[in-house]
């Protein structure tokens, strides 16, 4: 029977992770923005330890995807940068290892990720290829039992912190996308791997991002994710569902933060003798923010549930959630800025930071343009004359 209520367990997660985030993560959330990158790295590592203690990573790698999404909203609301860093370790790296890794790979990484003894990252984007995977140039050449990796991965979230990387490279370009790409697990101290200087980003400045260069980087046969080469494309498609869901989740959290801080201001800020939220123009903005974020939440939880149930439409539903939530949060952040007036435009204002953070969501892990193409294809193919 249809039922939109969270389970008792999920309600507990919501309450406990919410409380944890407020106590342990919120106090440093504003510090990332202006901190030098080495300081930001220390702050983030400390957050990883705290998240591990609260079992956040255990939830994120668990079977209750709806529950993990509920926890994710709380973290993204409190500190979007920390959400992205955590996601890059546990979803972008952890989920593929959990789903496709060999027994040895799982033994080595899963528990360590959950305890934050290892931080993970994934590199697939390159200077000339992001959404168009066929355009990547990183490659792996067979050498004895192992492989030699060559290439440069761009915009790798978590790279400055990461202990282990999943790197996508061609093992057989002739075989094409579906059979020629392979994920390798490469440790940070592998010879021939070097991590560039952290990149200065517009938003989400606590999540450190850098280039990862592979030059004659030798790895053993056991570094192939799942042990068999040529499965990278299919693996990435599955992982992208989790990542799209995560970006929807990030958007939802940022949207909720915008809504809460704007609603509070609507009550506390006075103009012409009354709280500004009682003016119809401001009230309508709050209403639109609430509505869109509420629908972001519905779509995100629906997609999470769909993945949990392994429904056939989970791929299109995660695209819908990602597209809607990421575009909604940009509109929401814009309205939040307007409600705040001049005080929102100042460096250090929470909405100013959230506004920059939100911009990431419509770009990352499949732009809005790509989500629309995928969703349209799903509809158009259904009604094609035989």
């Amino acid at each position: 029977m249809m039922n939109y209520e969270l389970t008792a367990e999920q309600k507990t997660i919501k309450k406990e992770i919410g409380k944890f985030c407020q106590e342990a993560i919120a106090p440093t959330a504003a510090l990332f923005d202006e901190s030098p990158k080495d300081k930001a790295a220390d702050l983030m590592k400390a957050n990883f330890q705290k998240l591990a203690q609260a079992n956040y990573f255990g939830l994120a790698l668990g079977e209750d995807i709806v529950g993990a999404t509920v926890a994710g909203e709380a973290l993204a609301k409190t500190c979007p940068s920390t959400f992205l860093a955590a996601m890059s370790s546990i979803v972008s790296f952890g989920i593929p290892v959990k789903l496709f890794g060999t027994a040895a790979q799982k033994d080595k990484y899963i528990d360590a990720l959950v305890k934050a003894q290892v931080i993970g990252a994934m590199g697939y984007t390159e200077a000339q290829a992001g959404s168009d995977l066929g355009g990547i140039s990183a490659s792996a050449a067979k050498k004895g039992d192992g492989w030699v990796l060559t290439g440069v991965k761009d915009l790798v979230t978590n790279a400055p912190l990461a202990d282990a990387f999943l790197v996508l490279a061609w093992t057989d370009k002739e075989a094409g996308l579906e059979k020629g790409l392979t994920f390798f697990i490469v440790e940070k101290n592998a010879s021939g791997l070097s991590v560039g200087k952290p990149i200065e980003t517009m938003g989400l400045r606590g999540s450190l991002t850098a280039e990862v260069a592979l030059s004659g980087c030798e790895v053993a046969a056991a570094a192939v994710l799942g042990g068999e080469a040529g499965k990278g494309y299919a693996q990435l498609q599955t992982v992208l569902e989790y990542i799209k869901l995560s970006i929807a989740n990030l958007s939802l959290g940022i949207g909720q933060a915008c809504l809460e801080v704007s609603t509070a201001l609507g009550k506390s800020r006075q103009a012409f003798g009354k709280p500004i939220g009682l003016f119809e123009g401001v009230g309508a903005k709050l209403a639109v923010m609430f509505t869109n974020n509420d629908l972001s939440r519905l779509l995100t939880l629906r997609a999470a549930w769909s993945m949990e149930q392994k429904e056939a439409e989970s791929a299109v539903l995660t695209s819908c959630a990602k597209l809607f939530a990421s575009e909604a949060v940009n509109a929401i952040a814009d309205l939040a800025m307007q409600v705040h007036g001049g005080h929102g435009y100042i460096r250090g204002a929470q909405v100013e930071r959230l506004y920059r953070d939100a911009r990431f969501a419509v770009i990352a892990y499949g732009t809005s343009e790509l989500q629309r193409a995928a969703i349209a294809k799903d509809c158009l193919d259904k009604f094609k004359a035989a």
């Binding site: 249809m2 039922n3 639109v288 343009e369």
Partner: protein
């Protein structure tokens, strides 16, 4: 959490969809052009058990839950039944029927519900007046008790089904000084002295539902036809909101499915510059946005229905969200569908023109989108 329909609900939806597509939708096409209500449509709905869907079986209904009621509306919209006939269904079964079902005495239910379920009688509900719409608390129609009758005076407007109705649920005040607490509902029959209806209005869309004013001039209503007790009218109107925000919106959900199907077919078949127009990204973008609106709207509407079925109290905030989103984005989506069809989209004989006109009502009827934003803002500011 569970977002699936039961097998029984799915089978019922399929049956209604097939029936509506074959038997009902074709009748709407000509009726829409003429702007006429087709009684044949209501008879067919009655045959399918749709007119008394939520009524208990002892009163001639099917005892269906909220989700099933929404699936019926969705199936009809999806099958291409016009927005006018589905609106007439909504006003008849929900605005009139469920008010009596939820607040009536056994005798009242026995007298009216079977007639409504069988299409022997048509029902409507009158709340809006020339001087007040969204601000329903300001209504001016009066009721005065005299002996074994109430005497009603005033007028109602925009009353869906009024020109063809046999029974009216009318809201009037026993004492304006008491404001909301003076409002009382009455069941008024067409042949009571003093009730009359105006000429059907020429509407922009939903043309097959007839709409007019209702005049009450010393209209005599027997005391036993007071519905839900004196002073309880405001609560009855509020209780109607949960039907309004779920079952009455459900045909719009189906209408969105109908739009996406037709746009997708057209985009596959229509060629421009030697390729199907589906290859153009601007066409894809429209289809994708329509799909996202459909998914979000479906979740919002079924949330209200499922909450009701699970005995969870309706959160007025979430109900207002539904109405605003489905109304506003539903209209945008229909406009995008017309754009996608190009010049053909502007022509009645193609499948999307009517939808745009029908969808405009979603932003107006049962509380405008502006009012929905005010409701949400008011709750947020508490």
């Amino acid at each position: 959490m569970d977002f699936t329909f039961t097998d029984e609900q799915r089978m019922f939806r399929d049956t209604v969809y097939r029936f509506a597509k074959e038997e009902i939708a074709p009748l709407g096409e000509e009726a829409d052009l003429k702007g006429e209500f087709n009684m044949e449509v209501f008879k067919k709905m009655a045959d399918m058990g749709l007119l008394g869907l939520p009524f208990p079986e002892e009163y001639g209904g099917s005892g269906a839950d909220f989700v099933t009621c929404c699936l019926a509306g969705e199936a009809m919209g999806h099958a291409g039944v016009d927005g006018g006939h589905t609106l007439a269904w909504g006003a008849h079964t929900y605005l009139c029927g469920t008010d009596i079902m939820q607040h009536g005495t056994h005798e009242q239910k026995l007298k009216y519900l079977p007639k409504l379920a069988s299409a022997e009688w048509i029902g409507c509900m009158g709340l809006t007046e020339p001087g007040c719409g969204s601000d329903a608390g300001a209504l001016a129609t009066t009721a005065v008790k005299k002996g074994d009758k109430y005497i009603l005076n005033g007028s109602k407007t925009f009353i869906t089904n009024a020109p063809v109705a046999n029974v009216f649920v009318i809201f009037a005040t026993l004492d304006k000084a008491k404001k909301h607490k003076g409002i009382t509902a009455f069941i008024v029959e067409r042949d009571y002295p003093g009730i009359s209806t105006g000429n059907p209005m020429h509407k922009m869309g939903c043309k097959c539902s007839t709409t007019s004013e209702v005049y009450l001039e010393d209209c005599e209503v027997p005391v036993e036809n007071c519905l839900g007790g004196e002073g309880n009218g405001w609560n009855i109107a509020l209780a109607g909101v949960e039907w309004d925000r779920s079952t009455l919106l459900s045909p719009f959900i189906g209408g969105m499915m109908y739009m996406i199907e037709n746009c997708s077919r057209y985009a596959n078949e229509r060629f421009a510059f030697k390729r199907p127009i589906r290859d153009f990204q601007s066409i894809q973008n429209r289809v994708a946005d329509m799909r996202v609106v459909l998914e979000a709207s479906k979740l919002a509407v079924y949330r209200v229905a499922a909450s009701k079925d699970n005995g969870v109290a309706l959160n007025p905030l979430l109900a207002a969200v539904n109405k605003m989103y489905v109304g506003d984005r539903g209209f945008d989506m229909c406009s995008a569908a017309v754009d996608l069809f190009g010049g053909y989209g502007y022509i009645h004989e193609y499948p999307v023109e009517r939808g745009l006109r029908d969808a405009k009502l979603g932003q107006l009827g049962g509380g405008t989108s502006d009012i929905m934003r005010m409701i949400v803002a008011r709750v947020l500011m508490m």
